[in-house]
């Protein structure tokens, strides 16, 4: 996509701009118009816009191929949301628009499910099912079905409205691009970017990969410690040494000062390490980072201890593998928990309820009050005045 030897930022700006212009053209041609719509040209422009948008996503944020099922589902749901949203906007008949809106809701619920929010999926579907049915009733009750009407067959400034909406979207996307550190590499003559970054994740993908490899080896502990332990000592020790090194690369090894052996995870999270009884100063001062560091410290201790036990066991005259096996089973569990640090569990409905009624109790009460006021307001607005009724 570097036809004109542009910098990546200029390239991204060009792609986003092209997608926005094509979307403006497509919507302006498709929106209801008394002179008639040009459906074929409009759909072609929108498809072009989607293609450029996808190319930009692909080139800016990398190819999301390793997780094939997740990628396919994400593509399906996001295409559904955007496609049915477009149908809702350009559809003349409001009843069909309401059906398209139902599919937008279903698609966003699919995205919620991919983002580990099962309760929100259920709540959204239940609430919007009611809302859409009520809207439908209103459409059937209030809209004229006899021929063209001002409200359905005319648009208000399709070109200017489309331009405003998609210029806004393009700017948001470009800002997203600029705030993404990997997608915006340093360029010649580029000023250092001001602004605040997102807080670092507690466990990077590379670290998670290392820990997963160590886990695969830990799962083979029983096989490695089977048979006559006086044979193949070197091979067995080499296997467990590789486990120790893989884990130590992430969490550090016991007694290591800040430096190469300190581990990538503490090096990344700690601004200044704990010294002389003072607690460490972290880049992220939250419970999640603290808990992850504590777990990493536990893994570090256990990692060194388990390897020492194993070495002593294997070098003894009558080796008994029970103690080493128990240590490595515990290490496996701890490493497994550390691998999941910072990940939202999919089964989180109970935690959501707990959070609502502890941290956000006042907000829940306010939301309930708001609903009550809205109910009273709706009744007051819709009430027929006595004079007009007579």
């Amino acid at each position: 996509m570097t036809l004109f030897s542009l910098t990546p930022t200029q390239n991204a700006a060009g792609q986003i701009g092209l997608a926005a212009v094509l979307a403006v053209v497509g919507f302006a041609l498709l929106l209801p118009n008394p002179k008639g719509r040009r459906v074929r040209e409009g759909v072609a422009a929108l498809l072009g816009s989607v293609a450029v948008f996808g190319a930009w996503l692909y080139s800016a944020y990398g190819r999301p191929m390793p997780d094939l099922v997740g990628t396919v589902l994400f593509g399906l749901f996001s295409a559904g949301a955007l496609g049915f949203g477009t149908v809702l906007v350009v559809q003349k008949n409001p009843a069909r628009g309401a059906i398209a809106f139902a599919f937008v809701i279903l698609s966003t619920c699919g995205l919620f499910l991919l983002l580990a929010a099962p309760f929100l999926v259920a709540a959204t579907i239940i609430i919007y099912a009611g809302a859409i049915i009520v809207t439908f009733l209103f459409v059937l009750m209030l809209s004229h079905q006899d021929g063209p009407s001002d409200e359905n067959d005319r648009s208000r400034e399709p070109w200017l409205g489309g331009l405003a909406g998609f210029a806004f979207t393009g700017l948001v996307l470009f800002t997203l691009f600029l705030s993404h550190e990997a997608a915006a590499p340093a360029e010649a003559g580029d000023q250092p970017r001001a602004g605040q970054r997102l807080p670092a994740v507690v466990l990077t993908d590379a670290e998670r990969q290392r820990l997963t490899e160590a886990l695969a080896k830990l799962d083979a502990t029983d096989d490695e410690l089977a048979g006559d332990l006086t044979k193949h000592r070197e091979d067995r020790i080499a296997h467990f040494a590789s486990v120790r090194d893989a884990v130590a690369e992430v969490v550090g090894s016991e007694g290591a000062a800040p430096g190469p052996r300190y581990g990538t995870l503490p090096t990344r999270l700690e601004k200044t390490p704990a010294l002389d009884g003072k607690p460490a100063v972290l880049y992220r001062e939250d419970a999640q980072a603290r808990a992850t560091l504590a777990r990493a410290a536990a893994v570090r201790d256990l990692n060194g201890r388990a390897f020492d036990t194993l070495q002593n066991t294997l070098l003894a005259k009558n080796p008994d593998a029970a103690a080493a096996k128990a240590d490595y089973a515990k290490l496996r569990d701890e490493v497994l928990l550390l691998t999941g640090a910072g990940q939202l569990p999919a089964r989180n409905v109970g935690n959501l309820g707990y959070l609502l009624y502890t941290d956000h109790l006042l907000a829940v009460e306010l939301a309930g009050t708001l609903l009550l006021v809205a109910t009273i307001g709706a009744i007051a607005i819709a009430q027929r005045k006595r004079e007009s009724a007579e």
Binding site: N33, T108, A123
Partner: protein, 141 residues
């Protein structure tokens, strides 16, 4: 891996589509649905951030968005009902009388397309006596 950024980009695009619909459509109910769609786009953002940070506060935000959307739906539909009773139309341009002072009124230049009116099918009225030839005597049974 599908990252946070993919979700943010899709949510921004969905919000933009809803914004265009809200700005250009004139049917009050369609405008309302477009506003709801924008709220959904914001919800995707918040849930994606909740996943990114590994906590549930973003999901709690979305629950409040849903509550506010329900309030909005109730009040908006009551308002539409009232406006429809007064104007017998869902066209938002009918309420141009409350526009800002000094702004000229917008006028629709092009006439609406007229659909060809096809005559409704007429059935022959039932129950009429068939005309009898004059020279034939009515049969007596």
């Amino acid at each position: 891996m599908i990252t946070l950024w993919h979700y943010l980009a899709v949510a921004a695009a969905l919000f933009g589509i809803g914004l265009v619909g809200f700005l250009t459509r004139r049917n009050l109910i369609v405008m309302f649905l477009c506003a709801e769609m924008m709220l959904q786009a914001v919800g995707i953002n918040l849930v994606a951030f909740a996943r990114y940070h590994g906590n549930l506060h973003g999901q709690v935000f979305v629950m409040f968005i849903v509550a506010v959307a329900a309030c909005e739906a109730g009040v908006a539909l009551a308002l539409f009902l009232m406006l429809y009773r007064r104007g017998k139309s869902l066209d938002s341009a009918d309420w141009a009388a409350i526009r800002e002072v000094g702004v000229p009124p917008a006028s629709d230049a092009d006439p609406l397309p007229t659909e060809p009116v096809t005559a409704e099918p007429q059935l022959a009225p039932a129950g009429v006596r068939p005309v009898q030839p004059a020279n034939e005597e009515a049969a007596r049974v």
